[in-house]
Symmetry: C2
Subunit: 401 residues, 2 copies
């Protein structure tokens, strides 16, 4: 057995990963209805004016604004209604002074009109329209190109598509959009102690947990993840899997990174590429391995489920987001009072799982093996390596899963 000779600080591990995780550059084309949360790969210029024509922004009457000046509750202006334009109508009706045309929201503004009086400010008596409030020119009119002017840059390379941005594409009549290809992640559990779901474990085996948690983590961070069946802890089996997943941007083994019999992954990695770090000052998650084979990133994560997923959240997720060109979440954090005193380990950056109850962060950590400490948790709190406890009632920042 070889113990860890030295551990690198978490911040160093993070900056090493930032350096090695390169954004995927290839494009793929998707229909806009399937583009949510994808990262746009090109700049998009408006190829038409939106709206394409001046239109009414209200239900009401298209008028010559000047005709309404001086109108008031007790001094309405009278106009003659000469027609109606509904949204979608093509009409060559014109508005001349003294006249008005009924218009619906979205209708083309008739020629000659320069403003729209809201229906609520009018009254129809016999043939006459009474206007009770003046409008200024352009009032209640959306000019052609006022939302997007033809030629304007409306979406930029790197924008993450959300309903509003998808709406921008639709407004331009764009059905398909080029987005960045998702990073591909191959996930493989290793170890003779790991049993496939659906099989009967031997008396010394446990079910595979980590490939499912890591796959789910990779997908929620913008990647396409593929699970592979349990790989034996042998040079041959690990080598065979690496041959099979050569096209994958990232390979994540769970188990296979601790000391003991399981230095095999380290040896395979050293032979085929480079071991970049092995052992990180975090708790749980110390025996984390990172290396590269060509441009492919290879991780060995601790076999214990909570340790594995903690490293996933703390180190792998930021690397995957960088590869996927997704920003670090601005919104998934909150500040809460700690519900009870927590003791940490000096010299190890600790990740403490918590649940929010009555606006307090309640620790749910059990031990590094305990998947329930992650199942019950809504997020985690980080305790830096220079602190040995955090007092009850102190404000902590919770990063939500």
């Amino acid at each position: 057995m070889r113990p860890f000779s030295s551990l690198i600080p978490l911040e160093d591990a993070r900056s090493v990963l930032r350096e090695h995780a390169k954004p995927v550059l290839q494009h793929v084309t998707v229909r806009i209805e399937n583009s949510a949360a994808r990262v746009i790969a090109v700049d998009v210029e408006a190829r038409i004016n939106v709206p394409p024509f001046a239109r009414s922004a209200m239900d009401g009457y298209a008028v010559v604004a000047e005709d309404t000046y001086g109108a008031g509750e007790f001094s309405p202006r009278s106009l003659k209604v000469v027609g109606v334009v509904r949204a979608g109508d093509e009409s060559d009706i014109k508005v001349s002074p003294g006249h008005a045309v009924e218009v619906a929201t979205g209708a083309v503004l008739p020629e000659g009109a320069d403003a729209v009086v809201k229906v609520e400010r009018t009254e129809i008596t016999d043939d006459a329209l009474k206007v009770f409030k003046p409008v200024h020119p352009q009032e209640n009119v959306s000019q052609a190109g006022s939302d997007m002017a033809s030629g304007a840059l409306v979406l930029k390379h790197g924008d993450v598509l959300h309903p509003g941005k998808i709406g921008v594409l639709a407004a331009l009549g764009i059905e398909e959009v080029e987005v960045l290809r998702k990073p591909t992640v191959a996930v493989a559990p290793t170890g003779n102690e790991v049993c496939e779901l659906g099989k009967e474990p031997t008396p010394s085996q446990v079910y595979d947990v980590n490939s499912y948690t890591i796959m789910s983590l990779a997908e929620r961070n913008g990647c396409d993840a593929t699970r592979h069946p349990v790989v034996e802890d042998t040079l041959e089996s690990i080598g065979a899997l690496l041959d099979k997943v050569k096209e994958s941007d990232v390979v994540i083994f769970s188990g296979g990174s601790s000391v003991g019999e399981r230095d095999i992954l380290v040896d395979v990695l050293a032979e085929r590429g480079d071991v970049i770090f092995h052992g990180v000052q975090i708790k749980p998650g110390k025996p984390t391995l990172f290396g590269k084979i060509g441009e492919q990133l290879v991780f060995g994560l601790p076999g214990y489920p909570a340790a594995c997923l903690t490293v996933g959240n703390a180190l792998i997720a930021p690397a995957l987001r960088k590869m996927a060109s997704l920003p670090e979440g601005k919104a998934n954090r909150g500040r809460f009072k700690l519900a009870k005193r927590v003791v940490s380990t000096l010299g190890r950056h600790q990740f403490l799982t918590v649940r929010i109850e009555n606006e307090m962060a309640v620790p749910v950590f059990k031990e590094s093996g305990a998947i329930t400490s992650l199942g019950d948790a809504e997020g985690y709190v980080e305790i830096p390596d220079n602190m040995d406890f955090v007092e009850k009632g102190e404000i902590v920042e919770v990063v939500f899963f």
Copy 2:
């Protein structure tokens, strides 16, 4: 044209929707690798102990704890190593006083041993193991059932599955899980002014925006959304669509809720079911229609894209989340300084789209028709109806999309 006779306050609209939006109760079965963000439909009890056996939590040596008492850097205890157990090994080796067995993390704890000494606290010299630090009984051992005891309730009806909870299922060997069926949402644009993407708009038409934004909004709020082609503003066309989507939990029309020619949806709804409210004191989004046909919720949203999506965020999303049994987001809010003074409308609860720049909330609102005001935005700020402006520098709460 019928103007709105009265508008209901936003909070009333919200509470009406809370009352009418009923959680979907049906279950569907999904594989755990496809269960992320789904809502679990049953209570899950552990059907086995996890771990199923006492195991070593460290790489090291299984010992009788008592043998190590009094050990120190300069007074190591010597033990005889009688074997090795790797993770996954089935071994009948026993540890008796004075003896030790090498164990890997995850290995079954050999009979007779009651603790594990970490490898870092030991040294091998010839045949003898030197132990430099005492361990107490149970130290570095995970007891059978210590993570989940057989019979314990580990996941509850209503839990939203995330990587940690998916890990809990995997740890129990569960491959498939019953989750709540997603609410189904039929989305249909209406209006003769709306042109399908891929077709050439007439000089008085605009491209369909709203069905794409609302579909995307429904999906990110836990629903299955289906888009239907543009529906004409006629009793027959709207009736025909309603006949077609009878199985849908929710129907959302965009356009078709303003006054003017488009009272048709109100009439159809009154005839087939009930109009519950029509007109809400929000800006943008006033002409919002809500009703029911049997248990089906029917919405008519304003045709203007930003107004439509604002109502989607403010009213529809919370209703859909309730139907999907998803909690309201705890994490998607943040407090920021407002970058410039904003003028609102007294008596209308205003939704102001913003982008975050230099930790300030910068308004990006243009006009209610402007989809770019949503395309550029990262979230929105609400200005209550009793305020007519918010000063630059005031702290506002941003709800992120």
